[in-house]
Subunit: 390 residues, 2 copies
Amino acid sequence: MVKPLASIVSAGLSKFGAREGLYTRELFVEAAQEAFEKCPELSPKRDIDGIFVGQMSESYEHQAHIAPMIADWLHLLPVPAFRSEAACTSSSVAMRCAIFAIQSGMHDIVLVGGVEKMTNLPTAAVTEILGMASDFPFEQWHGITFPGIFAMMATAHMAKYGTTEEQLAKVAVKNHENGTLNPKAHFQKNITVTDVLASRPVAWPLKLYDCSPISDGASCLVLTSPKLARKFTDTPVHVIGSAQAQDTLGLYERDDVASMNVTKLAAKEAYEMAGVQAKLIDVAEVHDCFTIAEIMAYEALGFCKPGQGGKLLDEGVTTLGGKIPVNTSGGLKAKGHPVGATGTAQACEIYLQLTGQAGKRQIKGAKIGLTQNVGGSASTGVVQIYRRGD
Amino acid sequence: MVKPLASIVSAGLSKFGAREGLYTRELFVEAAQEAFEKCPELSPKRDIDGIFVGQMSESYEHQAHIAPMIADWLHLLPVPAFRSEAACTSSSVAMRCAIFAIQSGMHDIVLVGGVEKMTNLPTAAVTEILGMASDFPFEQWHGITFPGIFAMMATAHMAKYGTTEEQLAKVAVKNHENGTLNPKAHFQKNITVTDVLASRPVAWPLKLYDCSPISDGASCLVLTSPKLARKFTDTPVHVIGSAQAQDTLGLYERDDVASMNVTKLAAKEAYEMAGVQAKLIDVAEVHDCFTIAEIMAYEALGFCKPGQGGKLLDEGVTTLGGKIPVNTSGGLKAKGHPVGATGTAQACEIYLQLTGQAGKRQIKGAKIGLTQNVGGSASTGVVQIYRRGD
């Protein structure tokens, strides 16, 4: 068995949704407080020696430089803290930095998380802010926003592989169903394929129910060096693979927009580090910002051959009872997508699943988990692999 | 001698100033190109396995998610890249992450730098964007911007220690003089104490010439594991100390606004790591965003006792010919302060000084250097110590 890179000894998630009246700092504290309460052996002030926070944008709250503010609100000053930004992968990248810090021996016990407060602004303003993660002179300037960008990926996939609108809809249906079992999810109600197909078009073939919502939320993990993990818990979850790759910021420079090259590259490296193959994954959280993205993730992760993602949905392979349950949390689609929080929120779900704390959505006996997170139009891709610590 | 954390084998700096017509991506490439050209043994595509970029704000260019764009423009895709943000310490924090990555063994040869494109917007817009690094509900909302925040620190320092407007002015005069010797500096002309005192008040006691300018620019370093350094250069510069501390985001929560607690804490830790004391520092770059900040930096770094910073200037201790030359590059005040670029630009200057490449501003025989960088109203503080590799 490979040596772990770092170990998750606790995790916390704020309720996701429209959290009126709460600032970023308060949302983050809500998540951290849960992680601290679940880990009575941890004395945050004594133990935590670094804070890593992912956040996409300063624009929602007109607030940059959030890391010292969060350290302050957690009563953890003067512990070093900083913010990482890589669009929707902001907190996955924070987690990778935390892993570097732990592997370096320069930090032992860190708090890593992500946060975004989005619902205080009108939808058009949020859409514009999100659009900043695409290329300004080559994309934004011409008026395209992310639904349009992913719609182009979807039409390319449909043209190349015959993927259907019904298959896209099945991603939303599955993830909404999982969301009904997650009390933290933004949406906790079932929808049908008919509902998705009948919802209003945003950018064809993507309808409203093909899109993840605008949500507020925060997520965090207490991450330690593997040798310290047992001091804090009998059930650590080890990170055994972590890889990242980049692609062009703009779609226009890509050879193939019907596949996710960053995920393919990061998955290959993460599987090698972890010494596992796709077929050994018991549970996965993938980046379903739009339904097409989940289908492309299946293919890039090797859960199926290129072009066969829609078929996995037809066959129910990725449902709770299927062979590789995907997005048991409800995914970005139903749990919500507070952008900066998403990366470590995926890791939180895997932590819950691998420690048997996932309640009604628990996958029995899950030992190996995976998270796949992309930023922008998959210009950044992070894949991480986790193993139950026994 | 302590074991180095990482080694600088090359460095590059774009010209600082109003760089009309250049985007962030192009400024960064200008800096990286210089670093690559100065290091013929380096084959960027073959060797560089990680990119760490500091940038303060997405708002200047309406462009977030800059790391993949920079990786693309450098022809380094799919190498992992991300952005760190910690206000004016954004690239110092990127450098610390790069050090973690190298110390972890997960990266060997990385490009670390920073960039900011600021002069494309009107001054009032830039001032508002910079203000985002202060506390929104407790500071920004009430209309205060950074000149006002540092003016409060200056008046506290004057009241407590008797520091004078003339002493503040001497910081600007010294740094402008150094700037005349740096062809990359934004300002390359001498000014007098009378000029500073006669310049228009921005926030008393700070006049226009007490403030660093709004500049465009980029800086970068090629950082390797110490054991690989000699493969690329006969004159590496080793990073032997690196520490970071946080304080409250808002001034209102501090016990003492006449001192820089983050710098004191980070300096103590960095000196211990490096096994050196303040008196051994041959050359230092400190964070003179406003003249008062340089005086407070002297005190927090132990270059003099608390309250004696002004006296160091009266005695010329920190001039080029003095005992501890400070801001030989011209500092933020004359070289310019493209926010995200500043941290690694300070490291670039120390690299030049310790390798004998600083031209007319060369400090003869310099062996040990220091950089001190603060973010916001010193809510983040980074201190790093460097040793000539011989």
